[in-house]
């Protein structure tokens, strides 16, 4: 028996046994499918989602145009945020709906929603895939709407939507459209707004930042099933909800840009922005090494955060803010102010006093060549660490750091005492830090 014949026989035997089993749910399923399988997929899809069928030589695509809405953006200001596109660059908000969550070869983007600005008007177009075989048409249509010099705006698009689309273009053996840039808002939201959202999903962002509550929205996990069902002859109208879901997602991307522009990008508006957001934004600036901007955010937040002494959480947040401000001052090279800020934190006696004392010690030792003052700070920090341990909340990292620092400072001071004066003078003359050492410690700081 040839291999092919043997295989056919194995399949026939396997099928016989399965079909002989009346309990097999697939049989009933198949019968229902057969009844439903009627009508043209593209036409049915277009009718269900209120779109139009566009036929090309590479296949058909269903195109749905969403009525234009006004979403004014202050592009000048947004462009000043680190890593954000400059004012003149066209922005394209994009979101896909797919047949699965794996960004591997068998996952298809069956709906791509794209939104662009024409002046203040935000216009959305949705491209839908009527059948697997029409994918080249969808990819071509998408390439047409993506401007060459444009930036993509997505939510988790860097990890998901865009790699998936690139894979689709490669499957089709065509190059993916070139992008000038990609602004993924998920990491930005995580850094800036996450502190006051229940999670970082786009739906929570809408609710928490834009004040929008979705009613009758379809759950994400249901979406692939609804589409695959439609392909197999199931109802198309269940995709209407999916299309609406995608439309809202894209609209929210635009809304989020508007919100950022109104609350964060405008320095004057920062007086109304929650302090936590400003702290997050400061972190974004810090990572872009724009420390002056970071400091501006922190100062704005600091000014308005005057916590009530009884609210422990708020006090902690305030101290964290002070800590970050002190670090930013140090990064800016404003050592004297930084030292004052550290001492302020020490004086406040909060949970960060220990860390602040370490910073004071570092500054005194290295910047002002005052190992004795540094050792004093370390001793104070040790006392704090000890107290923390005694109440059952040890700070092992801090303790380890302090132990090391104390050993080193003690040794350094001992060396200095043993060394004869001549050698010491010689050393001072030779070494640059010695010059710094003569700098007087600012009054009120020491």
């Amino acid at each position: 028996m040839s291999d092919a014949a043997l295989l056919a026989r194995r399949l026939a035997a396997f099928r016989d046994r399965r079909d002989g089993d009346p309990a097999d749910p697939r049989r009933a399923h198949e019968e229902i499918r057969a009844q439903e399988r009627s009508g043209d997929l593209a036409e049915r899809l277009a009718a269900a989602v209120d779109g139009e069928v566009v036929a090309t030589d590479r296949g058909r695509v269903v195109r749905r145009v969403v009525p234009s809405v006004a979403v004014p953006l202050d592009r000048e200001r947004l462009g000043r945020l680190p890593g954000w596109p400059a004012a003149g660059v066209p922005l394209v908000c994009l979101d896909t709906e797919t047949t699965g969550l794996a960004t591997a070869a068998g996952t298809v983007a069956f709906l791509v929603g794209v939104g662009r600005w024409h002046d203040d008007a935000f216009d959305q177009v949705q491209l839908l895939l009527p059948d697997h075989s029409d994918e080249p048409a969808l990819l071509a249509a998408l390439a047409d709407v993506l401007p060459l010099d444009g930036w993509l705006v997505t939510y988790n698009g860097r990890g998901f939507d865009w790699p998936l689309l690139v894979a689709r273009y490669r499957m089709d053996r065509r190059p993916a459209p070139q992008l000038a840039g990609h602004l993924d808002l998920l990491p930005f939201v995580r850094r800036v707004f996450r502190h006051r959202l229940e999670d970082a999903r786009l739906r929570s962002v809408e609710r928490g930042l834009l004040g929008i509550r979705r009613v009758g929205d379809v759950d994400g996990w249901e979406i692939p099933g609804r589409y695959l069902d439609f392909l197999r002859g199931g109802p198309a109208d269940r995709l209407a909800d999916v299309v609406r879901h995608n439309e809202r997602d894209v609209a929210s991307l635009a809304g989020l840009l508007g919100h950022v522009g109104a609350t964060l990008a405008d320095p004057d508006a920062r007086t109304r922005t929650p302090a936590g957001d400003l702290v997050g934004l400061a972190r974004v600036y810090r990572d872009a090494r724009r420390h002056a901007d970071a400091l501006a955010c922190l100062d704005a937040a600091f000014e308005r955060a005057r916590p009530d002494a009884s609210d422990l959480a708020a006090r902690r947040a305030h101290d964290a803010l002070a800590l970050e401000r002190a670090r930013t001052l140090r990064r800016l090279g404003r050592a004297t102010e930084a030292l004052a800020a550290w001492r302020g934190l020490v004086g406040a006696g909060g949970p960060f006093a220990g860390i602040a004392l370490v910073e004071v010690a570092k500054a005194l030792e290295h910047r002002w060549a005052d190992p004795i003052g540094a050792l004093e700070a370390v001793e104070r920090a040790c006392a704090i660490a000890e107290r923390a341990r005694s109440i059952g909340r040890p700070m092992p990292n801090l303790e380890a750091d302090l132990a090391y620092r104390r050993r080193r400072l003690v040794a350094r001071i001992a060396r200095r005492r043993e060394r004869p004066a001549v050698a010491s003078t010689y050393r001072k003359a030779r070494r640059v830090p010695a010059l710094i050492a003569r700098r007087p410690i600012p009054a009120g700081v020491a």
Binding site: H29, T103, G106, S133, V166
Partner: protein, 779 residues
């Protein structure tokens, strides 16, 4: 023996053979003559840089097999290189890879090794060679240990990507769009240790390669495939079954070797009534010690990790008592750290390590140079593996010794008493069945996920449309308007396939001893029934674990570490029902049949047995559902067996003959005896005749049953030989299996039945109309 004067290998052997207690056990002693090397010059077309690089590493000329492989690859033909251990197989593919990249730096190569460790060795070796040639080639392993940032670098720029079939299957193929540079420029695919891809694993790998080549075609590349194999009976056939196209066989070994002594040794029979024999481990140690004491480099192979540790302890102990070179004897097995293993390999190459005790981990292509003696404690399960292990001994200019010490197991006993079987140089054939329906369909799903199927596109032996239509009924794929077949499910099909097993579901074993429970391993459902039922003692890496809980629904077994003096043995009750007959024919005394069967396995109780003595110290019930296995089987009926059997005698005879046939079958097919299940029925309801079934333990089977059907006569005569040659009185575990009733002569009964099956009357006619003779047996 307390002298440690260095002696040469033949002298050590002479001393041993002068010792009667050792010489008595030698069943066979063969001497293979020395052979000189056959060489060929480096080919003219070789890039001068590669030529210089080879010279730098002391290679001025090639062995003939290397030259032949190079020319063949140059001519664009797939090859399969088959030569013994340490004959320079690596160069057969390393040189063509270097040449391809020297010609075109964009060229890429993909190397497949069955295990991670082998792949990592290979990268180090290849990098040294390419550096010597002055070529900067990025070669890297891509496996489960590769960190994420390095992964993307390898995808983009790795010129030689070294991986294993599992990784190719689950991480590379489904994500091929990220690997497009590799697929577009793939020139050479290397499949080393080809012989390890047999059985279920091989059948999976064949399908993974089908998927790989399909994607290459999509990206417009047509790589040449270079396979390397240890000596097996059908390398070219195996290669073409795996890669789906013919490969040219290169098996003219040009590497020189010295004189070799091969000895087959049997431990003494202790009790003829039970068939008990002395321990193979003890005897192997006694053989190894004189070589070690004389300063000869020796490898001792144990069959399990436990036996390796026992051998190592024993050898060190003996060397310590007699102030021998104890610290220069090392262990080598899977659980050791990679750095430790590298150090031992280096030590063996430069002579610092004198002796090594290893599992089959050293059987594969790890470079440890050539040693003086190889002692095998137990038959490794196949001729091919035996020669691989024996091949570790074999110096170019000097004599070497290889000793196979048999255990008391039936397979070992069969092999040792049939030296021609081992020495006639007809190693077993390795079988794969890439068209096993379960395996094929699983990979067809994965292939559709990776790339839609054109109508009429071939996958395996035929156009895939019928199979795809079948999958479409399940809803995983669908045929779109353009006639192509597309993946249409949310699932990720590759994650549902494990290449190392045919059954899709496994039970995960979780160790709850540490604070953070960890996964110990996985077993398939059938094994789970007997290995990890509640209150079982599960043994993993020679550590015992007590099974607290088996969540059958969730497929999880929870265990904790214990130290007890017993193990557990679960009784499996198997019932078998024939479903369909594929082929059948009359044979002396009855009929032989190849067909499909349904095996139901129920495990109801377990026994606790003491280590060493196997004394029964308790039992317990097991409450697990019955499992069904649909598979292929070979069976033989004995309608024509002469009458006059008492029912209980026939029962013993069928079981005894069945055991012997099962043993011979596992030897002939180079499989583990556990891969073939045995069921006997005094009067099978299907045939209404005494029947012996051998079924495949894998769902759907992988073609073993068909081979057994073809070799029926060989099985009957082999089983007869096995029982006749056994030293026992009336049946023992080495021939007819454990004795069920003390007063019955299982040996005589089984031989009587086999005689009927050898000389008995041929029964004509289909089994549906049972012949009249059946009435006699029923009475």
């Amino acid at each position: 023996m307390r002298t440690y004067a260095p002696l040469d290998t033949p002298a050590v052997l002479k001393t041993i053979l002068a010792e009667p207690s050792l010489a008595r056990g030698v069943v066979h002693h063969a001497t293979l003559p020395a052979r000189s090397g056959e060489y060929a010059p480096l080919p003219d077309w070789l890039d001068p840089r590669i030529r210089d690089g080879l010279r730098l590493r002391g290679i001025e000329r090639l062995y003939v097999h290397q030259a032949e492989a190079l020319e063949s690859i140059r001519a664009g033909r797939d090859v399969v290189v088959v030569t013994p251990t340490a004959s320079g197989k690596t160069l057969c593919y390393a040189i063509p890879t270097l040449q391809a990249i020297a010609d075109d730096p964009a060229a890429r190569a993909l190397y497949l090794f069955p295990t991670k460790a082998l792949g990592q060795d290979q990268v180090a070796e290849f990098t040294e060679l390419s550096r010597a040639a002055g070529l900067t080639i990025s070669a890297a392993t891509y496996d489960g240990d590769t960190p994420a940032p390095i992964r993307s670098a390898i995808r983009g720029a790795g010129q030689v990507v070294v991986t294993n079939p599992d990784m190719l299957h689950s991480a590379i193929l489904p994500h091929h769009t990220k690997w497009f540079q590799l697929f577009e420029q793939l020139r050479i695919i290397v499949i080393d240790e080809l012989h390890s891809y047999r059985g279920v694993f091989g059948s999976h790998v064949a399908n993974v390669l089908r998927r790989l080549l399909r994607l290459c075609a999509h990206y417009g590349s047509r790589p040449i495939i270079v396979c390397c194999s240890a000596t097996i009976g059908n390398p070219a056939e195996l290669a073409s079954a795996l890669i789906g196209r013919p490969a040219r066989l290169v098996d003219r070994n040009g590497a020189p070797s010295g004189e070799r002594h091969v000895l087959l040794v049997d431990p003494p029979l202790l009790d003829a009534s039970t068939g008990a024999r002395g321990s193979a481990l003890t005897l192997a140690q006694r053989w190894a010690l004189p070589f070690l004491r004389a300063g000869r480099q020796t490898v001792v192979f144990g069959r399990s990790r436990t036996s390796v540790e026992l051998l190592l302890t024993g050898l060190r102990e003996s060397l310590r008592e007699s102030y021998g070179p104890r610290s220069r004897v090392r262990g080598y097995r899977g659980g050791y750290l990679p750095t430790e293993r590298r150090a031992i390999e280096r030590g063996l190459r430069d002579g610092e390590v004198l002796g090594v005790v290893s599992t089959n981990a050293l059987e594969l292509g790890v470079d440890i140079g050539r040693l003086d003696a190889a002692i095998l404690a137990g038959y490794p399960g196949s001729i091919a593996a035996t020669w691989q292990q024996m091949g570790r001994a074999g110096r170019r200019g000097a004599a070497s010794v290889a000793v196979l010490v048999a255990s008391a197991s039936p397979v070992d006993q069969y092999v040792i008493h049939h030296p021609e079987y081992l020495l006639a140089n007809t190693p077993e054939e390795a079988r794969v069945d890439p068209d096993n329906l379960h395996i094929l369909l699983a990979h067809l799903r994965a292939a559709t996920f990776e790339l839609p199927f054109e109508p009429g596109e071939v996958f395996g032996p035929a156009p895939a449309d019928d199979l795809l239509a079948f999958l479409a009924e399940e809803g995983h794929v669908r045929q779109a308007g353009d006639g192509r077949w597309y993946w249409s499910s949310e699932n990720f099909p590759a994650s549902e396939i494990s290449l190392r097993s045919a059954a899709p579901e496994n039970v995960v074993i979780i160790d709850t001893t540490p604070d953070r429970p960890r996964v110990l391993g996985e077993v398939d459902l059938f094994s789970a029934q007997v290995l990890v039922h509640e209150r079982a003692i599960y043994i993993h890496e020679s550590q015992q674990y007590y099974v607290d809980r088996l969540e059958w629904g969730e497929k999880k077994a929870y265990v904790h570490r214990v130290d007890v003096d017993h193990y557990t043995y679960a009784n499996r009750a198997v019932t078998l029902k024939p479903l369909e007959v594929f082929a059948e024919g009359p044979v002396p005394g009855g009929r032989r049949v190849h067909g499909e069967v349904m095996v139901a396995s129920l495990v109801t109780l377990f026994k606790k047995l003491k280590f060493v003595t196997d004394e029964n110290v308790g039992w317990g019930p097991i409450d697990l559902p019955e499992l069904e296995l649909q598979t292929t089987a070979y069976w033989l009926t004995a309608e024509g067996a002469a009458g006059g059997w008492r029912r209980n005698e026939l029962d013993v005879a069928l079981m005894g003959a069945g055991r012997a046939i099962q043993t011979v079958a596992s030897v002939v097919l180079m499989v583990d005896p556990r891969d073939l299940g045995l069921v006997t029925q005094v009067r099978s309801p299907h045939h209404e005749a005494p029947t012996i079934y051998l079924y495949e333990a894998v769902p759907g089977g992988i073609g073993l049953a068909e081979r057994l059907f073809d070799r029926h006569a060989e099985l009957i005569s082999g089983a007869t030989d096995l029982i006749v040659a056994c030293d026992c009185d009336s049946g023992c575990p080495a021939c007819t299996g454990p004795r069920l009733e003390p007063d019955v002569d299982a040996k005589a009964l089984a031989l009587r039945l086999l005689a009927d099956l050898t000389e008995g009357r041929t029964v004509p006619g289909p089994p549906a109309e049972p012949p009249v003779a059946l009435g006699d047996i029923a009475r």
